[in-house]
C-alpha cells in the first residue's frame, strides 16, 4: 500500500468507500464477499439436494416415473437458455472492463431477456403440471403403482425448481439495478465491481440449474 494511502491522504475517488484504503482492496473485498455468499447458497440448496438423494435412493422406480412426466423439451431449452445467458453475462462483464458502455447495456438487456424466457418456460411447465394433477396435495393423481412416492418426487421438483426460480427473479432484480447504474454512468473501466459481482451471482444460479436439470429431468431416460 502506498505511504499516502497509509496516511489516509490519497484523494478518494468517488466510488471508493471510506473503509477501504484503495480501489484494489475494495474490488478484492467485493469479490471475496460474493464468493462467500455463494458458498452459503450452496449449503442452502444442499439441504434440498440431500433430501432428494435420500428419497431417490429409496424409491428409484417412483422417481423415474415422475421424472418421465416432466417436459424434457422445456427443461432442455431452459438449459440452453441459461447457459447462453451466462455467456452474455460474461460478455457484459468484459464490456464493463473495457469501458464499453453500449455493449455493457446491450448484454445486460439480453441476459435479462433470456432470464425472462427461462421463467416464462418454467411457468408454462408449472401450468402443465397443474393441469395434469401432478401438483402435490389433495388433487394429486398418479399411476397407482408409484403414486405414494411419486408425490415425494413432485414435491421436491416444485420446491427445488421453485427456489431456483426465486433466485432467478432476484437475479433479474440485480440485473435491473446494474442496468440502471450502468445507464447512469457509474460503471467505468476503473470501477465495475457491481457488474463482476452480479455476474458471479448469475453464473451461480446457472450452475444450480445445471445440477437440477439432470437430477430432475433425466432419471433413467436412457431406458426409454
Amino acid at each position: 500500500m502506498s505511504p499516502d494511502a497509509a496516511a489516509g491522504t490519497v484523494p478518494h475517488p468517488t466510488h471508493l468507500a471510506h473503509q477501504f484504503d484503495d480501489a484494489g482492496q475494495q474490488r478484492e473485498a467485493a469479490s471475496l464477499g460474493m464468493w462467500v455468499f455463494l458458498a452459503t447458497e450452496v449449503l442452502f440448496f444442499g439441504g434440498l439436494f440431500t433430501t432428494y438423494l435420500v428419497y431417490r435412493n429409496w424409491y428409484p422406480a417412483a422417481f423415474a416415473a415422475g421424472s418421465h412426466e416432466l417436459l424434457i423439451w422445456a427443461g432442455t431449452t431452459n438449459t440452453a437458455v441459461l447457459i447462453t445467458s451466462s455467456l452474455t453475462m460474461a460478455l457484459a462483464v468484459h464490456a464493463a472492463q473495457t469501458g464499453n458502455r453500449r455493449l455493457l447495456l446491450l448484454f445486460l438487456l439480453v441476459t435479462m431477456a433470456l432470464g425472462l424466457v427461462f421463467l416464462g418456460i418454467k411457468g408454462f411447465e408449472y401450468h402443465t403440471e397443474y393441469v395434469e394433477h401432478h401438483v402435490p396435495g389433495a388433487g394429486f393423481q398418479f399411476d397407482p403403482a408409484n403414486a405414494q412416492h411419486a408425490q415425494l418426487f413432485f414435491s421436491l421438483y416444485f420446491l427445488m425448481t421453485g427456489l431456483h426460480a426465486l433466485h432467478m427473479i432476484v437475479g433479474l432484480g440485480i440485473m435491473s439495478t446494474m442496468f440502471w447504474i450502468s445507464w447512469r454512468g457509474v460503471i467505468t473501466s476503473e470501477y465495475y465491481n457491481p457488474i463482476e459481482v452480479g455476474g458471479l451471482y448469475w453464473h451461480f444460479v446457472d450452475i444450480v440449474w445445471i445440477f437440477l436439470f439432470p437430477l430432475l429431468y433425466l432419471i433413467a431416460r436412457h431406458a426409454h
Binding site: M1, A6, A7, G8, A17, H18, Q19, F20, D21, Q25, E28, A29, L32, G33, V36, F37, A39, T40, E41, L43, F44, F45, G46, G47, L48, T50, T51, V54, Y55, W58, Y59, A62, P136, G137, Q148, H149, Q151, L152, S155, L159
Partner: protein, 538 residues
C-alpha cells in the same frame, strides 16, 4: 497518574438523534444496537427460565397448565439459542472489536452490517409475535412429525422468524471473513492477530456454512405443515429421522458458534490479566479452526437413540471424542499461561477463570454423552440439560460477561464499580452451580427432560436447582444496573485502563468514529508483554 480527560470527539457524540443511530454505518454503533436487542431477548428468555424453575419446585404441575409449560421451555430455548447466544459475542463484541483489533476503519461492508441488525430485529419481532399470539410448543428442536402434523401452536411464524434471523448470522459471518482476509493493517500478519480474531474467523466459517442448512430445514417444516408434501411423513414414504439429520447438521456446529467466541474472549482476558503471551499461541489459533471443522462432523451424536444405525453411531462417537481434544488443549494452554504470570483478580479475570473451570466440567460431561452406551441412559434426561448449560451458561455467558466488563471502558469510556462487579460475578458463579449441578444427578437417576410434572423422589434436587436459579437471576440483574449507572456516573476510563497490549487500547476510549487517527503499522506480536508496559500505552 495524569488526570484522565474524555476525548473531545468520539463515536458516541458523533451525531445525535435517532436517525444517526438507526441509519448508522459505524460498526461500533451497530454493536450497541445489537447489545440492546440481545439484552432484551436475554431477559425474555430468562423470564421463561424463571417460570420453568418455579413450576418445577413441586412434583405436580400446579403453577401452569401442561400446554403452557411446553410453550415455556420451547420459547426459552428459541429465545436463548437463536436470539441471545448465537449473536451475543459476535454481533456485539465482534462487531465492535474486529475492525479495531485489525487496525481498520470499519468492517468490509458497513451497510450490510446495519442490514444484518435490521434482519435480526425483524426475525426477533416475528418470533415474539408467534409468542404473543399463542406461543409455540414443539421444543426449540421442532422435531417432526409433532411439529408438522400434531402441534396446534404457532409453528410457522416461529420457524419463519428464526429463518429470517439466520440471514443476520450469515451476513455477519460474511463481513468478518472478508474483513479479516482483506483489511488487516500493514504488518498485521495472520499470526500477529489477537486470538479473539482467530475465534471470530472460525465462528464466521460456521455461520456461513451451517446457517443455510437450518434455513432450508425450517422452510421444509413450513412447507410440510402448509402443503403436506410428505418429506417427513411415513405414510407418504417420508422419514421423520431425516429431519433430525438436517436439523442437527446446523445445530451442532451452532454450539461451537456459541462457545468459540467465548474462548476467544478468554484468550484475550488471560493474556491481559496475566500480562503474558498466551502459552502456545499458534496451537490455540489452529485449535479454533479445528473445532470449527470437526464440529461439522459430529451431528449424529444427537441421534444415537433416534434410529441411527449402530455403525453410524460408532463413527459419530469417535469423531465426537476427536472434537473434544482441541478444546481440552485450549484449557491446558490457558492454565499454563497463568504459570508465572502477573495475575490480576479484576472482574474480567474472575469471569475468565469461571469460564475455564465450568467449561472444563461441561466438556468432561461431554465425554459421558459421547459414549454411546452411556448416552442411551442419559440422553433426553436432565443430564444433557446440565451438560449443555454448563457449556452455554457456565462457559459462553461467562465469557460474554468477562468480555463485556473488559471492553466496557473502551466501549463507553467509563469504568464500572469493581466491588459490585466482583459481588455479581460471585453470585452468578454460585447461583449457576447450584442450579445446574443437581441436574446431572437428576438425569442419571432418570428424570426425563421437558417434563412438566415428575415423580416425587426427584423433588429435593429440583428444589435445589430452583433455589440456584433464583440466585442466578439476581446475579444477572446486578451488572445490568451498575453498567447502566456507569454510563453517566462512572469515572472516565482513559485509553488503556488495564495497561493491556492490543490495537484497540492504542486509541481513545471511546474510540473516534474512524477508529484510529492514523492507520497503524504493526510490528509486534499479539501479546508482547515482555517489554515495560508503558511502551504500548497511548
Amino acid at each position: 497518574m495524569a488526570t484522565v480527560l474524555a476525548p473531545p470527539h468520539h463515536y458516541l457524540n458523533d451525531g445525535y438523534g435517532i436517525k444517526s443511530w438507526l441509519l448508522t454505518r459505524d460498526h461500533k454503533r451497530i454493536a450497541l444496537l445489537y447489545l440492546a436487542s440481545i439484552t432484551f431477548f436475554f431477559f425474555v428468555g430468562g423470564l421463561f427460565a424463571v417460570l420453568i424453575r418455579l413450576e418445577l419446585i413441586t412434583p405436580v404441575g400446579d403453577l401452569v397448565s401442561d400446554e403452557t409449560y411446553n410453550k415455556l421451555f420451547t420459547m426459552h430455548g428459541i429465545m436463548m439459542v437463536f436470539f441471545f447466544l448465537i449473536p451475543s459475542i459476535p454481533a456485539t463484541l465482534g462487531n465492535f472489536l474486529v475492525p479495531l483489533m485489525i487496525g481498520a476503519k470499519d468492517l468490509a461492508f458497513p451497510r450490510l452490517n446495519l442490514a444484518s441488525w435490521y434482519i435480526f430485529l425483524l426475525g426477533g419481532l416475528f418470533t415474539l409475535y408467534a409468542l404473543v399470539t399463542g406461543g409455540v410448543d414443539t421444543g426449540w428442536t421442532f422435531y417432526v412429525p409433532f411439529s408438522t402434523t400434531s402441534s396446534t401452536s404457532n409453528v410457522i411464524p416461529a420457524a419463519l422468524g428464526i429463518f429470517v434471523t439466520g440471514f443476520s448470522s450469515i451476513l455477519t459471518g460474511l463481513n468478518f471473513i472478508v474483513t479479516i482476509h482483506r483489511m488487516r493493517a500493514p504488518g498485521m500478519t495472520w499470526f500477529r492477530m489477537p486470538l479473539f480474531l482467530w475465534s471470530m474467523y472460525a465462528t464466521s466459517v460456521i455461520f456461513v456454512l451451517g446457517t443455510p442448512v437450518i434455513a432450508i430445514t425450517l422452510l421444509l417444516i413450513a412447507a410440510e405443515r402448509l402443503f403436506h408434501f410428505g418429506f417427513f411423513d411415513p405414510a407418504l414414504g417420508g422419514d421423520p429421522v431425516l429431519f433430525q439429520h438436517l436439523f442437527w447438521f446446523y445445530s451442532h456446529p451452532a454450539v461451537y458458534i456459541m462457545v468459540l467466541p467465548a474462548m476467544g474472549v478468554v484468550s484475550e482476558l488471560v493474556a491481559a490479566f496475566c500480562r503474558k503471551q498466551v502459552f502456545g499461541y499458534t496451537v490455540v489459533a489452529f485449535a479454533s479452526l479445528a473445532i470449527a471443522v470437526l464440529g461439522f462432523l459430529v451431528w449424529g451424536h444427537h441421534l444415537f437413540v433416534a434410529g441411527e444405525s449402530v455403525y453410524a453411531a460408532m463413527i459419530f462417537s469417535i469423531l465426537s471424542y476427536l472434537v473434544a481434544i482441541p478444546s481440552a488443549v485450549k484449557v491446558f494452554n490457558w492454565t499454563a499461561t497463568m504459570y508465572k504470570g502477573s495475575i490480576s483478580w479484576a472482574t474480567p479475570m474472575l469471569y475468565a477463570i469461571g469460564f475455564i473451570g465450568l467449561f472444563t466440567i461441561g466438556g468432561l460431561t461431554g465425554l459421558f454423552v459421547a459414549a454411546v452406551g452411556i448416552d442411551v441412559h442419559v440422553t433426553d434426561t436432565y443430564f444433557v440439560i446440565a451438560h449443555f448449560h454448563y457449556i452455554m451458561v457456565g462457559g459462553a455467558i461467562m465469557g460474554y460477561m468477562g468480555g463485556l466488563h473488559y471492553w466496557w471502558p473502551k466501549i463507553s469510556g467509563r469504568l464500572y464499580n469493581e466491588f459490585l462487579a466482583k459481588i455479581a460475578a460471585g453470585i452468578i458463579f454460585l447461583g449457576f452451580n447450584l442450579t445446574f449441578f443437581p441436574q446431572f444427578i437428576l438425569g442419571y437417576l432418570g428424570m426425563p427432560r421437558r417434563y412438566h410434572a415428575y415423580p416425587p423422589e426427584f423433588q429435593v434436587l429440583n428444589v435445589l436447582s430452583s433455589a440456584g436459579a433464583s440466585i442466578l437471576g439476581v446475579g444477572y440483574l446486578i451488572p445490568f444496573f451498575y453498567l447502566m449507572w456507569s454510563l453517566r456516573y462512572g469515572p472516565l476510563a482513559g485509553s488503556n485502563p488495564w495497561s493491556a497490549v492490543g490495537l484497540e487500547w492504542t486509541t481513545t476510549s471511546p474510540p473516534p468514529t474512524e477508529n484510529f487517527a492514523r492507520t497503524p503499522t504493526v510490528t509486534w506480536n499479539a501479546y508482547e508483554y515482555g517489554e515495560p508496559i508503558e511502551s504500548h500505552v497511548a
